[in-house]
């Protein structure tokens, strides 16, 4: 159905907004797509939308993996399209 690539940014554009919420850089975490199972860094997602409302889509199947809405005094993070996030940590 899609004939051309649409304008989207890569998942690195999530680094700033997510650093407000998480103490770690989530774009380095490995996300597993709930739809197709593809696993890869959050930074490889295809990011659509505005600064107020971002949609991270799987680079494999284009399904929604993440939605991030930023209001003036709260953020909403919807990760139902992501099964897991593997967050690299320094060794104990």
């Amino acid at each position: 159905m899609t004939e051309r690539d649409d304008a989207y940014r890569d998942g690195n554009s999530l680094a700033g907004p997510l650093s407000e919420i998480f103490a770690v850089d989530v774009t380095a975490a490995g996300g597993r797509c709930a739809h197709c199972g593809l696993t890869g860094p959050v930074a490889t997602m295809r990011v659509y939308g505005s600064a107020e409302a971002m949609v991270g889509r799987c680079p494999g199947c284009e399904e929604v993996m993440m939605r991030l809405v930023r209001g003036p005094d709260a953020a909403w993070l919807d990760l139902r399209g992501t099964v897991t996030l593997r967050i690299p940590l320094p060794p104990d």
């Binding site: 159905m1 899609t2 649409d6 505005s50 939605r67 709260a74």
Partner: protein
Amino acid sequence: MGIISRGFHGRSRDGDVKLPPGQYLTHDFPVLSAGPTPRVPLERWEFTVTTEAGQVHRWSWQDILALPSVTPTVDLHCVTKWSKLGTNWQGVSLDVLLADVETAADYALVHSYGGYTTNLPLEDLLDGQAWIAYRYDGEDLMPEHGGPARLLVPHLYLWKSAKWVRGIQLLLEDEPGFWETAGYHNYGDPWREQRYQGD
């Protein structure tokens, strides 16, 4: 035939423009999407209304074009704070499409090609407030603006005017859509600045 949608009575002419709170005026037409632009061949395009009883009403592209159309001139207000005034559309009123639909539903969930959804009370689709629009400014509606056809419900923030519309599901109970489940306001009245949950 020009129809000015209700909710815009307060606006006077350019230079003394009354905008909803927090909005700024723009003259271009910004494009915002939650995903890739779906390309639907017209011979496969269809629009459906599905009742709470499961009854499906179907219109092909030719069916839609054969229905009486109107040319509303309306103001658009996007939750990302731009407003565009006096936009010219052509489309079919939802009053026409829902005229023969038997339903006791109070709510509607709008579905788009590409998977987007948005919800609103059914009464907000009636009484000359909403259209399935297929032409903008005298031209066929471009895919980036929701073509071949989009919902136009301009008295609510523009995320409710679903691009690439494919159907409306009539429901007895409200079911939040794509953005409404992720922090956006359930109703989205720009004049009451209902941007986010809790506004």
